[in-house]
């Protein structure tokens, strides 16, 4: 995991975007891409770039945990694991052997809104990368043994991230409380019971419905000639059969009528934590970008209002953090506060709400607007510097918004946000009736303190 964890930061960078409002000239970064659609409906995006002898390939499938049905939570992600267990011409686990042993790096990730697979390799391995992706799109091998093995791995992944971590369950409780529509009302990792219920028949049906070329976007970035790359893409992918389009997902989210609140007893936690969420808007909307700017002023970095108030001035919190979540459906503005000992939850909430009220009553300062735009710009353009991050970003924008060009105009959308916009969205979305609060309370498990505690 450590070896490939750099991909995590690349992914999180995709959530940001901006341009500079600065006196000095800011150079823009432009990604020149070419779009092609194969006869079977596969969307192909290529970016020719000779700056390093590297190629990067991503395949983004238009399926995520939002497509799951009740009783099969966690399935989209479990399925993702199955994509590494072999296909007609690639043995179980051979995918990884081929990528790593040729100097490459790879991963697959699943979220609510999409599933992606990607690899980066030395430039002389383009044929290999395309072959690997095409072979599993065409002919995934599905066996009970492989499913049972990956079910175990995924259940350990859940224990690692949720059940064996302090505050692990709080996020799950919060997600289930925020949403009414089942699409987002469950986590991507899913429940243990549902993971146990998944069958090979489920895997086969899911593969046929969602892993068709007409439900995917292939992005190829790097050191090649575009015409050559497209010819290779055609020979690898064009004969894969199109399937009927998957049914659309109903993403309607009813208007929330009142604050929602839950308390979680956590035997692993050592401090109270408060998690707040305000249900807001889908990503890539004008209000979304305004909420990103708002979030930046409120809770990003040591200059943020909540850090200065709660951590520095009042010394009530060890840490604060938060972000505006980018989703295809309705996303939320999240805030979390880690309390110091002997601090009352109510007092912290009162201070957070006072800061939110201030955002409603007065415009943010010039420097705060500049902070948000500069920070977003730095993160975004750094994220464009590697082939693999461009491949992932282009795939994501295409599947999320049908808008690959967002990679070139996203910073303009953030630059367009004004202080008035920030004040307007604060008043519109950051209202009590839109709020979900989860308070995690440490509950140490009783344990005798004598030397014979073992048995």
């Amino acid at each position: 995991m450590r070896r490939v964890s750099k991909f995590l930061s690349l992914l999180s960078i995709c959530a940001l975007g901006v341009v500079v409002v600065h006196a000095q000239a800011a150079r823009n970064v432009r990604v020149d891409f070419k779009e092609t659609t194969l006869k079977n409906g596969l969307r192909v995006i290529t970016v020719e770039d000779h700056s390093a002898p590297v190629i990067a390939v991503s395949v983004t499938y238009n399926v995520g945990s939002r497509n799951e049905r009740q009783g099969r939570t966690g399935f989209a992600h479990l399925f993702e694991h199955m994509m590494f267990k072999g296909s007609e011409n690639v043995g179980s686990g051979e995918h990884f052997l081929l990528v790593f042993n040729n100097g490459g790096n790879m991963n697959g990730t699943t979220n609510e809104d999409r599933t992606n697979y990607f690899e980066v390799l030395p430039a002389n391995q383009l044929d290999l990368a395309l072959f690997l992706e095409a072979d599993r799109m065409r002919s995934l091998a599905i066996t009970k043994d492989n499913l049972d093995n990956q079910r175990n791995a995924v259940q350990e992944e859940r224990r690692l991230g949720v059940d064996n971590q302090a505050y692990g369950k709080s996020g799950e409780v919060q997600q289930e409380l925020i949403y009414d529509n089942f699409a987002y009302k469950h986590t991507t990792i899913g429940s243990m019971d549902d993971l146990n219920a998944a069958s090979v028949e489920d895997v086969a049906a899911f593969f046929k419905m969602y892993y068709a070329p007409n439900n995917a976007t292939l992005v190829v970035v790097g050191d090649f000639k575009t015409a050559d790359a497209i010819a290779k893409v055609r020979s690898n992918f064009e004969t894969i059969a199109r399937q009927p389009d998957p049914p659309p997902v109903d993403m309607t989210e009813p208007q929330q009528k009142a604050e929602r609140r839950a308390s979680v007893d956590d035997v692993l936690a050592r401090a109270i934590r408060v998690d707040l969420a305000y249900k807001a808007v889908p990503g890539n909307s004008a209000d979304f970008y305004a909420l990103q700017v708002l979030s930046n002023a409120l809770q990003s970095g040591q200059s943020s209002r909540l850090y200065q108030k709660l951590v520095k001035e009042k010394e009530m919190a060890t840490n604060v953090g938060g972000f505006m979540d980018e989703k295809r459906g309705v996303g939320a503005l999240y805030t979390n506060v880690q309390l110091r000992p002997n601090v009352k939850t109510e007092d912290v909430e009162t201070l957070v709400y006072a800061e939110i009220d201030r955002l409603k009553k007065e415009p943010i300062a010039d420097w705060e607007l500049q902070k948000s735009k500069n920070t977003t710009r730095r993160n975004f353009i750094n994220g464009l510097s590697s082939s693999i991050s461009r491949a992932i970003t282009l795939g994501q924008y295409t599947v999320y918004y049908n808008e690959p060009s967002l990679i070139n105009n996203r910073l303009e959308k953030v630059a367009a946000v004004t202080k008035e916009d920030v004040q307007r969205v604060a008043n519109k979305y950051l209202v009590d009736t839109n709020r979900t609060v989860v308070v995690t309370i440490p509950k140490a498990k009783a344990r005798p303190t004598t030397g014979t505690s073992g048995q």
Binding site: N124, S303, N319, S453
Partner: protein, 498 residues
């Protein structure tokens, strides 16, 4: 991913811990060793057999009359830059009764200077979209202050950066706030099982050596004063004891006048020599069980004392580690995850410094399979020394490392880190250019020899963090078990196992 801002260490753990939907590689070596169970190599995918050799970009170097060395790696792909001051003194200079002073000094640099308050530093750096961070480990050779930003803001960024590096005032009020904040953060870290494992493991390996410490001792934190910080700073933060390393969209011609302006009148001084303490001789094998009630997994970390960075065994260990557990194509991952389904991941790792580092293997497994996981760890650790690695397995490991250099060309930040490593350890100037040849030269005998030499089961230290009531008896099958609570206090003696 909902991360909590925190010290670097915690963030790293959170990345491992909170990601709920990453599938990691399975990998495998099909037809040869027992590690191939569950992996099938069909050999039909088109592989280009040529390993792409690449030429690494050259860094430019310059210096100021006051002794400040400047290294620049030009990379104009995007209009950003990253710069760091590497002070050539870190936690290894701390007095034995004051571990953490180097770390505290770095952490408090940005909490006030003679020109700016803590809040002004935060606001001005954030307004520029700049990052600003400083740290020093408790057993590190260096202290590092890093900033990264947009090239159009480089002048303003450098002004704040130089101010923080040169003129920190360590206001007592900020020192007091830092103490209180850090004490609660230390509590939070004790909820993270991987943190508890590392803490117990390093203590088992290093005893009283500073590398035993993962976090500063509370005693040090409590006695911390503005005066001590100022003294550490004025002694070691000097241009003749520092390297300014820059990577990004800036040329040496443009950079040097800016560096001259920011650091030209920084006064040099005599730097007291720091003696690097050597790691203690390995202790006898022991199992440390950290009781974490409510755990549903056991976090296992096993390992021994490894090598110094300049050890002649470095490349043999590099390859042995790659074979053992260097990623999803390593034996540990294949065995414990792909064959047994015990875990989400199992890896090995080695570190090295001017004192001997550790060589470790680790995994998180559900409590019920603690026994099975222990058995497989012992099997794999032993096998590396008893069985010669196959030709294919060794060649694959070499190709993975050498081929990976092409990818590094897109990571100029890590190339710069490599150059800093070369300077810190006085490695030859062509060290990175000849790295592939050194990897290629390693034989199966070399791998077996270093496995036997360093992975000595008589000195193997084992840490398990989990529910002691369910794992204590199981672990006692593998050796003498000492039980501790999460504060590091021993709560059971070996005799309790009987």
């Amino acid at each position: 991913m909902r991360n909590i801002k925190n010290q670097k260490f915690v963030i790293a753990l959170m990345l491992v811990a909170l990601v709920s939907s990453m599938a990691f590689g399975q990998g495998g070596m099909a037809p040869q060793a027992p590690s191939t169970k569950g992996t099938v190599v069909k050999g039909k995918a088109p592989v280009n057999k040529t390993v792409l050799r690449v030429k690494l970009p050259k860094a430019e170097e310059a210096s100021l009359p006051n002794g400040l060395r400047v290294i620049l790696l030009h990379d104009a792909k995007v209009p950003t830059f990253n710069m760091q001051i590497v002070v050539l003194t870190g936690g290894l200079a701390d007095r034995a009764d004051y571990h953490g002073l180097a770390s505290f000094t770095a952490a408090l640099l940005r909490e006030g200077t003679t020109k700016r308050s803590s809040k002004e530093i935060a606001e001005q750096t954030d307004a520029l979209g700049t990052t600003l961070a400083a740290n020093s480990g408790l057993s590190s050779l260096t202290s590092t202050v890093t900033t990264s930003g947009l090239v159009e803001n480089i002048d303003q960024t450098l002004d704040i950066f130089a101010d923080v590096v040169r003129n920190p005032s360590f206001p007592q009020s900020e020192v007091d706030k830092y103490k209180a904040r850090t004490l609660s953060q230390l509590q939070f870290q004790r909820s993270i099982p991987q943190f508890l494992a590392l803490e117990a493991f390093n203590k088992a390996i290093y005893g009283t050596h500073p590398a035993a410490l993962v976090i500063p001792p509370v005693d040090s934190l409590k006695k911390l004063s503005s005066k001590d910080l100022a003294e550490f700073h004025s002694t070691y933060y000097r241009p003749n004891n520092a390297i300014l390393a820059v990577v990004g969209d800036v040329t040496m011609k443009d950079l040097m006048p800016k560096v001259q302006k920011a650091f030209g009148d920084w006064q040099k001084a005599d730097i007291p020599a720091v003696t690097i303490p050597q790691a203690p001789d390995p202790a006898g094998s022991m199992i440390y069980l950290v009781d974490r009630p409510g755990s549903v997994q056991t976090v296992l970390q096993l390992g021994t004392l490894g090598i110094e960075r300049t050890s002649p065994d470095y490349f043999a260990v590099l390859l042995a580690d790659r074979v053992l557990g260097g990623g999803p194509s390593g034996r540990l991952f294949l065995n414990l995850r792909e064959d047994k389904g015990y875990t989400y991941g199992a890896y090995s790792n080695f570190g090295s410094s001017k004192y001997r580092g550790t060589w470790t293997a680790s995994s998180e497994v559900r409590t019920e399979v603690t026994d099975g996981a222990m058995k497989e760890f012992k099997y794999e650790l032993t096998r590396l020394g008893t069985e010669k690695v196959s030709v294919d397995e060794l060649e694959n490991a070499k190709r993975a490392i050498i081929g990976g250099f092409a990818l590094s060309l897109e990571q100029p930040g890590s190339l710069l880190q490599n150059i800093i490593t070369q300077k810190l350890y006085n490695l030859p100037a062509d060290y990175w250019d000849t790295y592939p040849q050194k990897v290629s030269a390693i034989t199966a005998d070399d791998v077996q020899r270093v496995a036997q030499k360093y992975i000595d089961m008589k000195h193997l230290q084992v840490v398990a963090v989990g529910d002691a009531s369910k794992t204590r008896e199981i672990l006692s099958k593998y050796g003498t078990v000492q039980v501790y609570d999460a504060e590091g206090k021993q709560i059971g003696s070996p005799s309790d196992n009987r």
